[in-house]
Symmetry: C2
Subunit: 153 residues, 2 copies
């Protein structure tokens, strides 16, 4: 094995470790962000409400089965989580304009306000950290993450 | 606002978008990886078994409460997930050598073998993708992710 191949393998292993650390960090941040939206919501609820929020851009709402599909969760798990978020007053079920028998999920007004406040605060904190980076590093990270997403896709 | 500040804000926003896409990708990959370990395991089970596997490096096992804490999940959610993984024969409860009354979680032999096979396959796939990158990009991505982890910590 040439020195360059060996060196590349080390760098790839280092990237794997950093990505694992980043994903772990993201998971533990989920609880903190969840608590900002509602003190009784956990990381699972946060993933659920984020998905529902993302799918309600047009106001119509999303199907529970689509949320389960995107999150890779069993329907029973998602169903329990939805009931919890409903009981906290953060989401609601509405009729599907395209299918009278189906029900869609969307954020309540309270849910949308609290979610938006959490997101704004999260963005402010994230930007304060990256504001200390120089433009070259920022540009490189953006470019390399974009390539990683493309190559993994 | 100067042109450089404006440009930096755009770059930070681009990084945020790429990280969101990467986290979404990681979540949807979780189901695929879960299925490789066991066809009846979902993304929530995958997060759980990964945490138990990480905590059983020394063979002793981990407490359910510590797993719940790290994953930011309610104890009841974790408890349900643990029962599922036990029923699938992937994890088991053993006595805590340091506390006779406490129980620890660890992978069964089958669980450990299946998890390891999934991890090896995942690493092989990931490395095949990054093997096509040039050394400069690999080194830059590793360095910038390390800095991001440090700064977020």
């Amino acid at each position: 094995m040439s020195m360059q191949v060996e060196r590349s393998e080390e760098m790839v292993a280092a990237i794997e470790q950093e990505l694992s650390a980043l994903f772990r960090r993201s998971r533990s941040a989920s609880l903190r962000l969840a608590r900002r939206v509602h003190p009784e919501m956990d990381a699972a609820g946060y993933a659920l409400i984020s998905q529902i929020e993302m799918g309600t851009g047009n106001g119509a709402g999303v199907r529970a089965s689509d949320v389960a599909h995107v999150l890779g969760l069993d329907k029973s798990t998602v169903s329990r989580g939805i009931t919890q978020l409903e009981n906290l007053g953060l989401i609601e079920r509405v009729g599907d304009p395209d299918d009278g028998r189906a029900r869609l999920l969307r954020l309540t007004t309270t849910g949308a306000e609290r979610y938006e406040a959490m997101r704004t605060q999260r963005q402010t904190e994230f930007r304060a950290i990256l504001d200390r980076w120089n433009p070259t590093d920022l540009a490189d990270l953006g470019r390399l993450l974009a390539r990683l997403n493309t190559d993994l896709g």
